[in-house]
Amino acid sequence: MNRSRPRSVISALACVSALLASACGSTTTDDASGGASFDNCPDSASALVKGDTIKVATTGPISGPYAAIGEANRAVEAYFNYYNAKGGIETVDGRKKVEVAMFDDQYVASKAQENIKQAVERDRVVAVAVQVGTANAEAVAPYLNSTCVPQLFPVSGATGLVAEDRPFTTQLINYEDQATVAARYIESQDPKATVAVLYQNDDLGQSLLDGFTEAVEGTDIKITAEESYEPSATTVKAQMTTLEASGADFLFNASAGAACTQMFTALKGGSWDPQIVQGNNCNEANISQAPAGTTDNISGAAYLQSPLVDTEGMELFREIMESAGVKPSSTALVGYSNAQAAAAAISAAGELSSIGIAKAAVDLGPEPPNPSIYLEGTTFAPGLGHPLLNSYRVAEYDARSGSFDGVNGELITVD
């Protein structure tokens, strides 16, 4: 025991010093974002870009269990590389190439924080162009707003990501708006409709459910049954049996991923044939795996054309993706469209600095930045505190082509 006494003394001293350091030490103040605004920024935020290259960063799950979603990041890189090869994008200061620093965060928020810190403090990026994941975007939003680096169009449909005091964060769409569109569509079909809801018990499902519940308030639409499932669930058969018993005319589908496919499988076994309405939460890849005959009656809120159609915009999208070795999927399309919005903000910036780009990003619209990939008639609403896109078309799922067709769908604008 004697041998350890000197060290015990050291540790005791160290303990005491640590406690003292903590106790007489720091305080905390409320408001982590520090009430960010365009006028309260470090000098670096208004420094103009020198040379003919603009540095931006993107972070997402390039490896790990969610690597498939990282296609969105690869699409961002492919998009900018394509235009770099053509000489760059137009800016107020002439043509500039956009150098994309792509980071892997494996869908882990703390890794995204580290990546973004590296990008801002070491690589001196002017903006973060498209990052993937709600938690990851939330984790870096206070930092980016306090350092005045634009967080351009993260891939996230969460409500509350953008706010008046987060002027450097811009969002393209959110799930609540999509649920509102679904509710308005149901009302236009049958003002006294009964609706059953299946939702995933996480933020995605809850946002859709909250948006839907709020939108049907004050209408004659009745939600007759609500069933949730855990994101890890392998089947939703029990929930679907309960919903079927309600005999509702419509099923508001707030499920995602494999559970969405399972939902159709459960419908196949029963006698219930509701009209299914959703946001863009359950995509073509999930629906195409559903049993035949169950997918004839699906409508969803859509703002982009199907990646499969032969329009000029989508042909270019497929060409850019295929030349970069990226599968032209719905996920890649989301990354691509958000990258286009980011590029539009850079092009529209009155001065080529972080602040200039952030101001331009919240001011995009009313026409979408590159109408050739959006559904006709969809519009942006410039301003702070809400997602930019404010109108959707209701797209019908076409089982033969395996895609949503929204070209002639009803156009619905959200407030």
Partner: protein, 340 residues
């Protein structure tokens, strides 16, 4: 090196060097050093449990996460003082450790790993399910800014770094003392053979629970440091992947070495970036980790610290071929040696 150098001078010099870094490094590099130290502490919590006492836990990501979440929630939602919240979180994590250790009294080896792997699997799922409290999938922000005391002249990031260095140093010294004490020797005896240890008077049950509580407490401190550094928690930060990473870090640093945990932490913090920098596809990184782990388990069971120890001993023999009767350094807790 003599005992004074290895036991006191080297750690003290390292501590002083770390404290000087805020005046030398840029903010980003400093944040990576802070993160390295947090990870080293998390690895150390496993070293104590696995290396010293021979119990296996794959659930330490949950301990780190529980502490990080609890401190964040207490500050963000209940307006607790940050330091009080951290203390409460650490104590709660120790209680959780005591509860989880109970099956360990009746089981040994891989059988204890099963309930702990369950804990690591369930924890992030539970965080998502208890959305009202935890913020669900979107995570939760600390919602306050840490303001350093004016007399330090430091900015918030440097202040958090200094606190990290002090907390980690205290924990490492504490563990080094425990390992070097009678308790440490009793724990090693339990690891080698429980029956023999009991015959010699070691109270196996209380030792096993105590070391689990100590280990959980260290993980709890690591969790608080996570809260201080990131000021944001989300379920994806504390998945089974972190649990396995900590295990990998421990194996690489050396499961029998206290200071090897620093090597393990450095590996976790810097290896992925280094591997990507030499042009390896990030998708292949986990496979490389796996291969490395296999090599270490087969060739270097005492990890990097063990390999260094073997190297130093080998070099010593080359220089001074005849030297007998000196106790091996491993039993002094600096570089502990496998006794089984």
């Amino acid at each position: 090196m003599n005992r004074l150098q290895t036991g006191i001078v080297l750690p003290a010099a390292g501590f002083a060097a770390l404290l000087a870094l805020p005046w030398i490094l840029d903010a980003y590099t400093l944040s990576t050093v802070a993160s390295w130290l947090y990870l080293s502490l998390a690895v150390l919590s496993l070293t104590v449990l696995v290396g010293v006492s021979g119990q296996i836990s794959v659930g330490h990501a949950a301990f780190v996460g529980a502490s990080a979440y609890m401190s964040t929630i207490l500050v963000a939602d209940y307006q607790w003082n940050l330091w009080l919240a951290c203390a409460a979180a650490i104590v709660s994590t120790m209680v959780l450790g005591a509860i989880v250790s109970l099956p360990a009294l009746r089981m040994s080896g891989l059988y204890i790993a099963v309930p702990t792997i369950g804990l690591a699997l369930v924890f992030p799922t539970w965080l998502q399910a208890a959305r009202e409290v935890t913020g669900g999938y979107s995570g939760k922000a600390l919602a306050v800014q840490i303001v350093p005391p004016p007399w330090t002249g430091l900015d918030a990031a440097a202040w958090v770094y200094v606190i990290t260095v002090i907390a980690v140093a205290v924990c490492f010294v504490l563990v080094a003392c425990v390992v070097d004490s009678r308790i440490g020797r009793a724990l090693r005896a339990v690891r080698t053979n429980e029956s023999v240890a009991e015959t010699f008077g070691a109270r196996v049950a209380s030792l096993k629970v105590s070391v689990f509580v100590l280990s959980a407490g260290l993980a709890g401190v690591a969790g608080c440091l996570f809260t201080l550094q990131r000021q944001f928690v989300s379920p994806a930060d504390f998945t089974l992947l972190l649990a396995i990473s900590l295990f990998t870090g421990m194996a690489i640093g050396g499961q029998f070495s206290v200071w090897g945990a620093l090597v393990g932490g450095a590996f976790l913090q810097y290896a992925q970036g280094a591997i990507e920098d030499i042009g390896v596809d990030p998708l292949l990184v986990p496979a490389l980790y796996g291969a490395l782990l296999i090599v270490i388990v087969i060739k270097f069971r005492a990890g990097v610290a063990g390999a260094i120890h073997t190297g130093i001993v080998g070099l010593g023999r080359l220089i001074r071929p005849v030297e007998r009767g000196v106790a091996p350094a491993g039993d002094r807790g600096i570089i502990t040696r496998r006794t089984s």
